[in-house]
Point group: C2
Chain length 205, copies 2
DNA sequence: TTTTACAAACCGACTAGTCGGTATTTCACT
DNA sequence: AGTGAAATACCGACTAGTCGGTTTGTAAAA
């Protein structure tokens, strides 16, 4: 697959440009000029600039959902599932930082027809994580005194926020950061009696 | 102060409209129409739409910095300082949710002259928190095996992300959420030997 | 009289989307 | 395989509309 389709080149260029300057500050003219194409070519592949934005959103969130579900299916205890999901998510966030930036900063620019679909998928992603937390609480592996919705959003926030500050050129790799996050989350929510199982994921002092 | 100045009315309306629809989707015409004023009045009070956006940013971040610093000054141990800052921050985030949405989603729309100032202040806010973490590590109250920069960003992410999902009409108040966050953070980072001092902030199971 | 505070019409730059056209590929039929 | 027609992919000048900002006007305050 040496030859990239024009459509793919448009998407790739847009992801880059949208991340840098934001959806509204990037014109269709600029996108096509950037890849040496034309407006005709653009509107042959997309019915609108909106549709392009939607496609970028969808590719990303669908991938996140699929990966999260795979991490869930691969293991069978709350702690291992949670760790796998944390690892998977940060990995995705490492690779798709540009997509995430667009996903979380430009979703308001989606027209109504698209935003419903995207919002549903976003909720689905959260639900997968929340299910792990809830199941862990039922099994008394995670502390039941913490509301599982808040715990879920605390974790989601911690991870999602990385797109704002993580630099691949920074002093720590995403793997190292993941280890710290995993440590913090497990310490925060695992019960005393289940801490034995979690010990292997805790950083030694 | 029954009479609000036009300037204040413009700011208030803009905060509301920007949060709802985003900076680029709200025209100056719409702002002035919303409050029953004119474009002349707008440009009498602001030299540009950019300046208005800047002012909204600045009011908010300056307040956050001031409140964070006050929380720091009010106490004299890492744990109490951290708890006070968590409480202060979530309180601010409860009150200024619209400002925060704008602050974190529209800062890219700031022109260069303004964005430098805002970015510096944003870093300053983070530094105040990071200092508490670092001081806690020096005092062996917080675990030194966790890099303080990552811990800081994990906390910042957890708190900041609330602006995406917290609803004042939701089942939990911001105070209750703060208690959960505080519990999780302390459990995650306080050392075994200092846990005694932190116990009062931990939710009992 | 000058300044302040706002109103309302207006302008110029910019941009999403269109449309008529051309190059390239696909494919049915010899 | 070779051919030609139809479908597909792409081009680029043009348009209609939008929006930030300006200019001119005006009434009250200082």
């Amino acid at each position: 697959m040496v030859k990239k389709t024009l459509k793919q080149r448009i998407v790739d260029a847009s992801v880059e440009l949208f991340q840098q300057d934001g959806y509204h500050n990037v014109t269709v003219d600029r996108i096509v000029e950037y890849i040496g194409a034309s407006k005709g070519g653009f509107y042959h592949n997309f019915k609108s600039k909106d549709e392009l934005l939607y496609e970028i959103h969808d590719v990303f969130i669908s991938y996140v959902i699929q990966q999260s579900q795979a991490a869930y299916d691969k293991f069978d205890t709350p702690i291992t599932r949670l760790c796998a999901m944390l690892q998977t998510l940060t990995q995705v966030f490492d690779m798709y930082q540009a997509h995430i930036t667009i996903f979380y900063e430009e979703s308001r620019s989606l027209s109504d027809e698209y935003s419903d679909i995207i919002h549903k998928k976003r909720d689905h992603y959260r639900d997968i994580l929340q299910r792990v937390i809830a199941e862990g609480q039922e099994a008394k592996v995670f502390r039941t005194e913490l509301p599982c919705t808040i715990v879920t959003m605390a974790i989601v926030g911690m991870i999602n926020w990385t797109y704002k500050w993580f630099k691949q050129s920074g002093p720590l790799t995403m793997e190292q950061i993941t280890d710290v996050f995993t440590d913090m989350v497990l310490r925060a929510i695992v019960t005393e009696q289940a801490m034995g199982e979690a010990k292997q994921f805790i950083i030694k002092g």
